[in-house]
Amino acid sequence: MKMTKTLKLAGVAASALIAGASGAFAQDASCPIKVGVLHSLSGTMAISETTLKDTMEMLVEQQNAKGGVLGCELEAVVVDPASDWPLFAEKARELLTVHDVDVIFGNWTSVSRKSVLPVIEELNGLLFYPVQYEGEESSKNVFYTGAAPNQQAIPATDYFLEELGVEKFALLGTDYVYPRTTNNILESYLKSKGIAEEDIFVNYTPFGHSDWATIVADVVALGADGKQVGVISTINGDANIGFYKELAAAGVSADDIPVVAFSVGEEELSGLDTSNLVGHLAAWNYFQSAEGEANAEFIKTWKARMGDERVTNDPMEAHYIGFNMWVNAVTDAGTTDVDAVRTAMYGQEFPNLTGGTATMLPNHHLSKPVLIGEIREDGQFDIISQTAEVPGDAWTDFLPESAVLKSDWKDLGCGMYNTETSTCVQIKSNY
């Protein structure tokens, strides 16, 4: 009797073992070329990340229709890290060792990227990260196709200072690393622009915060000393819905207190009625409303595939550029070997959907134009400002510790190079 019990136990273990290990046998085929997609399909981040998984599948299909890469079909390997940060590391390891993918496109949140970094660096993988982020990081194995702070936050702040004449800033954010770091950078940037410390109001709220009445009232009260108030919002995800609803209810118009958001795009606006938000701003490298043939084509394919009501957004463009650059780099290198592709990536150029050309820099960031858009009634943006291409900067110039650092993987072979002492601080990234 006891025997059966134990046998059963062993059986369970063994079957689980086989289930997990079976993937390990299929290896070493150079065709098809495997593209790992590491985006959450469930959990809190699924809201944003599922779209990117669909984008990747669309891009892979399009490339296959064009004949694949190096004469091979591309195959998208989709895994679901379920918005669970440790699971990101596990799935990344699985993609690289079990599925033997040649490249990974994935992640949204910074914490998930930090979770994946040690694994990617240990196994020398290749990750394309498509979301605007806080910078202060440079990994040999990651290409950051989203905006660094100087490609989104700083130009938007300049716009506030120059064009809107804002003198008092409310930095509202969700309590996690991207808002915290961005706000730190912005605080020191604003101080360098002569804004006094007491004219910067910082507030952090939890994920999914919905009770905004008090905070909105606080922001309105900031105007009591007669200075023009502006809000820089790094509020993440669906907390924005409650925030904008409360703004509208309090009758705060964009002319009184403009709000510029770094995490609100077309996708987020589709979740609310925008008629009261007209005139508030967002800063991105891409808006669906950008005019141009490539963009029109991209939107058409996307809508044909996903449905007419679906919108395109900035991280999708980042994946579009990143994927195409990778395809070109692989073609140039004639192999999918990570180091060869990495070298071939530097200087890769690809046309942006918004016009102009994105260039991959030796610090693994893109040079891209910065766009500022005003919210329209239909949930789209009117582009009211578009800069020339801005080269992404891994280490901000506005924090003293980071100002001396520089990332150059091409010539210096170092992501954290101290220009004062002319030494490489560390080869691995900090996580």
Partner: protein, 650 residues
């Protein structure tokens, strides 16, 4: 690009009659002289155009400024002229900017919409003031007043005064008078005028008056060897009390009076600059891994004159002692600043009192949301003792019902009227189904209901995701719920929150009525207290349990519609409320609707209270609130409103 240009040219050739006729009005000519700035205006540079326009005021200036401000002006790429345009069919109909007369058509590709940004719009608004102040259209006059509020200016006083006389609208006239007073307080010609205006401001509370007073009281920090006699000094700062020693010294450094203090980094940099034969100031480099040796080495270097001497605490202290630190007003007239200080302190104390009132309103609103979310649970958990972890998902189902109804019925008011009962019906049915299929088998195992309903909860959540997708869905409140009830300039509350509050009251009344005054309520209480006895009295406990559970679930559905209206509709929205709701019920006291009310009030009030003391960290407020609840339950394990006797048993 080339192809597009060719197409445009072909189009122009094919339809010469449709081409816009050339405009040569003075307005167009003036604009053409600054065409680049008109097409791409910047806040700082647009003044040139505006000044020119205002100075000459060619025909149609006012209309042009207005259209320009509202993104109504287009640049025709064919002739480089500016037009107004209106969409007609596939193309646009063009209008002359001076006369607003139709002058032809153009395609979308030929036209560029001119989009002045918010800053430029404000500048244009300022320029428009003079045209709009006495405009017959009330909206334009309001816009002019808004523009003055946004950028007050001394030059606006006279036109504003002049227009006040003839103002037909009472509200607008009051506003104009208020504005004139505001402007006089800041920019008035004589001291007496200004002081009178300032005194009038002391009775107000609005942001603009406070802004005006604060602007008058603009201060700047200054440092000098002695207090100056001629300056209007706001206050003298005592180092160590009003200003820290560090800040005081930094001020001296900024003023160029004292040398900057060396930081550890600069000392280190100087040392490494002066390494001679592996030694710095006679100390071997290898020994420089301590602060003490570094200071010695630096002192040696300073002695030799290679580096500036070290700024020590004593030198700092002496420098500070030799100077006076103070704040001066930008306004030189002391009588005005004194009057403004008095007025401002009066205003501020009134504002503070009203803020407390405002926070209390927010607290009541939050409490009513918690109450609404928890009241269904108060019935299922409180009365029946069933732990329903899927309660949050019933809230979500209600919200999605609202969303679906809005997709079918586009009228927001009507759809809300339909959605509320429908949400009740849907979740009532779901609740009854759940009770029949699952919960009734588990009445004697309360802890296991928790597990089973948790299973249902994650299944429902995922199901919602599969059906509605992961994006948040819009649930828009009808127009009459937009906006806020403005009690005064500080105290206001969004209408939707008032509606939720009313809804919560209605449900409180309804539930009290059902439980205490109806047959059903009697039977529910009977079954809750003693099912066996109730059954032998002819009550069917199965039916009662089913109905009670359905009722609790149905209310959750209605709460879902309300919560969706004020926040968001996602598949995870239920999870946000479930723990909160349980705590509301537990803190309030299980088995009692009044308890739930007390719990919701306590939790909502507490959360707002903590937030008020620590406004920059909402997360901390939630943490402290939960800690408080844990402690509270230690001392009152049965909640605020505790039942006594038999009914209180587990």
């Amino acid at each position: 690009m080339l192809r597009a240009t060719l197409l445009v040219i072909a189009f122009c050739l094919a339809l010469p009659a449709q081409m816009a006729t050339a405009q040569d009005s003075p307005l167009q000519t003036l604009l053409q002289s600054q065409a680049g700035e008109v097409a791409k205006p910047g806040r700082r540079s647009v003044g040139v155009v505006i000044d020119a326009l205002v100075a000459e005021t060619p025909e149609g200036t006012a209309l042009f400024l207005e259209r320009w401000q509202n993104k109504g002006v287009f640049l025709n790429e064919n002739d480089g002229l500016f037009y107004y345009a209106q969409k007609s069919g596939d193309g646009y109909e063009l209008f002359d900017i001076a006369t607003d007369a139709p002058v032809g058509t153009a395609t979308k590709d030929e036209l560029t919409e001119i989009r002045p940004n918010g800053g430029v719009r404000r500048v244009i608004g300022g320029a428009l003031v003079q045209f709009q102040l006495s405009d017959p259209d009330k909206e334009r006059r309001t816009a002019a007043l808004d523009a003055i509020l946004r950028s007050p200016d001394a030059s606006q006083i006279d036109p504003l005064r002049a227009s006040t006389e003839g103002e037909p609208d009472n509200a607008l006239r009051a506003l104009k008078e208020r504005l004139a007073n505001l402007l006089t307080a800041r920019f008035g010609a004589s001291t007496d005028d200004r002081i009178t205006a300032i005194n009038a401001l002391s009775g107000t509370m609005d942001v603009d008056s406070r802004a005006a007073l604060n602007q008058i009281l603009t201060k700047s920090a200054a440092v000098a060897p002695e207090l100056p006699q001629d300056a209007n000094i706001a206050r003298v700062l005592t180092v160590g009390e009003d200003i820290s020693q560090q800040d005081a010294y930094a001020q001296l450094v900024d003023a160029g009076i004292a040398p900057e203090r060396q930081t550890a980094d600069t000392i280190k940099a100087r040392l490494s600059d002066n390494i001679v034969d592996g030694r710095v100031g006679g100390i071997p480099v290898g020994q420089l891994s301590s602060e003490e040796n570094r200071e010695k080495a630096y002192a040696a270097l300073a002695q030799a004159g290679t580096v500036p001497p070290l700024v020590t605490d004593e030198t700092i202290q002496t420098a500070i002692n030799e100077h006076a630190f103070f704040e001066t007003y930008a306004e030189s007239d002391a009588a005005i600043t004194t009057a403004a200080e008095t007025a401002l302190s009066e205003v501020e104390s009134r504002v503070a009192r009203n803020q407390i009132f405002d926070v209390s309103l927010d607290a009541i609103s939050l409490a009513s949301i918690y109450f609404l979310a928890a009241i269904g649970l108060a019935i299922t958990f409180g009365v029946m003792g069933v732990i329903n972890m899927a309660h949050g998902e019933f809230i979500m189902m209600g919200a999605y019902t609202g969303y679906v109804v809005q997709q079918i019925i586009p009228d927001y008011t009507l759809s809300l009227v339909v959605a509320l009962p429908l949400a009740f019906a849907v979740t009532f049915a779901a609740g009854v189904a759940m009770e029949r299929l699952v919960i009734r088998w588990l009445y004697h195992r309360p802890l296991e209901t928790l597990l089973a309903t948790f299973g249902i909860s994650i299944a429902l959540q995922q199901l919602a995701k599969n059906i509605f997708g992961t994006q948040a869905r819009p649930l828009t409140s009808p127009g009459w719920l937009d906006g806020a009830w403005v009690i005064n300039d500080v105290v206001q509350i969004a209408n939707i929150r008032i509606a939720i509050f009313v809804l919560a009251l209605i449900f409180l009344g309804l539930i009290l009525f059902v439980l205490n005054k109806t047959r059903l309520g009697l039977e529910v209480r009977a079954v809750t207290q003693n099912p066996g006895m109730a059954a032998s009295m002819g009550i069917n406990p199965d039916r009662i349990n089913m109905l009670t559970f359905g009722l609790g679930s149905g209310i959750a559905g209605i709460a879902g519609v309300a919560i969706g209206l004020y926040a968001k509709v996602t598949s995870e929205m239920g999870a946000d409320y479930i723990v909160q709701s349980f705590m509301t019920v537990v803190v309030g006291g299980v088995g009692n609707v009044w308890g739930t009310l007390a719990g919701a009030t306590l939790i909502g009030g507490l959360q707002k209270g903590i937030e008020w003391f620590n406004p920059s960290n909402t997360l901390a407020a939630q943490t402290y609130m939960i800690l408080f609840i844990i402690l509270f339950i230690q001392f009152r394990p049965r909640g605020v409103v505790a039942l006594k006797g038999r009914a209180a048993g587990d």
